[in-house]
């Protein structure tokens, strides 16, 4: 009954999660949950957070949690490009703001480093001036 099977690949950027044949796959698509049987029409859609349910030919069931991602269906093959992290607009936004803040803080430290370098340079200049004055005094005296 090879024809009533569909090959499922669940991959994430950090590695392969599942690969094998299935009789039926259920995924949380962005427009609503969908069930995919073998010989499904080719489809591309985005996923939202939820669980991917894979029914294996042996009668078992695999549950995989995905944070979101992209789903690609071909008649004999389903590919889930899963996100490893939970994705949502505001979560992404918060992460971006955190990254910006880190950069700003790093630049603030730079100001301190510069003022420290300036102070050191000032100190060196003052020391050199003192030395010169001493030399001049010795020459006169």
């Amino acid at each position: 009954m090879a024809e009533s099977l569909i090959h499922v690949d669940v991959v994430s950027a950090e590695g392969e999660i599942f690969s094998g044949p299935a009789t039926m796959v259920f995924v949380p698509a962005s427009e609503g949950d969908i069930g995919i049987a073998p010989r499904h029409a080719p489809l591309l859609t985005l996923l939202k957070a939820g669980e991917v349910r894979i029914q294996t030919p042996e009668g078992g069931e695999h549950l995989i949690y995905v944070g979101g991602g992209v789903l690609e269906i071909q008649p004999k093959k389903v590919t889930v490009l899963a996100d490893t992290a939970l994705r949502a607009k505001d979560i992404d936004e918060a992460a971006a703001i955190a990254a910006k803040q880190r950069a700003e803080e790093a630049l603030k430290d730079k100001v301190d480093a510069i003022s420290q370098a300036e102070a050191l340079a000032e100190l060196a200049r003052a020391a050199a001036q003192l030395k010169l004055i001493e030399k001049l005094r010795k020459l006169k005296g």
Binding site: S12, P42, L46, V70, L81, A85, A103
Partner: protein
């Protein structure tokens, strides 16, 4: 000549240094293997992404996503991936050198340069240049995760969308083999047009909700996965470079120990000879 005690303590200290460098070498070797494995695991995802992007851009040729359009480069962004820790030979120095070349090239053309730094070594180096740093992330560890990079990448993607940067590059160390790590400059945005052989087939996908919406999600993830790959590859390179550097350090320590041992033996013999001569001299005097 230095006293035998001094030489002996010097030998002990070099030996303990050698123990540390040897341990670091072995740790780096095993970490490098794991990083290489992660590099391999990341590949199928990126490859799949490329074919999907190919399908999507072929599906509606009239719609051009901003990430696929080449604009006049007035301002560019560079994502520089460096390590968090030192003791890895010239790896970081090479990455920074390449970045500086890229930077100068664009500055000569009159373009503004914005930086995005991954890794604390890069931060320490580039903040002295006084160029705008848009985003930064450090301490990703030996196992970088996509979720730690999302925010950083998003800052750059948003900057691109809003037109603050017109081109996005990534500089990282490419893992060629254990002995060779090469700094590479890669253009992330705009995404180079994808050529795929199977695009000529008759059938096309059904798109839900619409091809343009999907394309946006896919492109964002694609760039993220590219940066993730860069980060993982950089970890592998870091470990390989550290392994080689620590091996050289251990070898040098071994050489030093041999030399010191020779000096020590000579000093010991000289002391014995001196003592004997004194005894013989003393006996003769009596």
């Amino acid at each position: 000549m230095a006293s035998t005690k001094e030489i002996r303590s010097k030998i002990t200290s070099v030996k303990s240094t050698q123990k540390i460098t040897k341990a670091m070498q072995m740790v780096a070797t095993s970490k490098m293997r794991r990083a290489q494995e992660r590099m391999r695991l990341a590949r199928p995802y990126a490859e799949k992404m490329v074919t999907v992007i190919g399908h999507l851009s072929a599906a509606n040729p009239d719609y051009k996503h901003p990430f696929l359009v080449t604009r006049e480069p007035k301002s560019i962004g560079i994502i520089v991936i460096s390590t968090d820790r030192g003791l890895c030979g010239g790896l970081n120095a090479n990455i920074f050198k390449n970045t500086i070349y890229l930077l100068r090239e664009w500055q000569q053309k009159g373009a503004e340069v914005n930086l995005c730094l991954v890794g604390s070594k890069g931060l320490g180096f580039f903040r002295r240049l006084g160029l705008p740093i848009l985003a930064n992330v450090t301490h990703l560890g030996d196992r970088p995760h996509v979720k730690d990079l999302i925010g950083t990448v998003k800052v750059m993607l948003d900057a691109y969308r809003e037109g603050r940067i017109d081109r996005l590059y990534m500089v990282n160390a490419q893992f060629v083999n254990t002995m060779t790590q090469k700094p590479v400059v890669e253009q992330l945005l705009p995404v180079a047009p994808v050529e795929s052989s199977d695009l000529a087939e008759h059938w096309d996908y059904i798109y839900e909700p619409s091809a343009s919406d999907i394309l946006d999600g896919v492109l964002m993830r694609y760039i993220e996965s590219q940066v993730y790959r860069g980060a993982v590859e950089n970890v592998a390179s870091e470990m390989a470079a550290r392994m080689v550097a620590m091996k050289a350090a251990s070898d040098n320590a071994g050489k030093l120990i041999n030399e010191l041992q020779l000096i020590y033996n000579k000093a010991r013999q000289a002391a014995i000879t001196k003592e004997l001569a004194e005894i013989v001299g003393g006996a003769a005097a009596v």
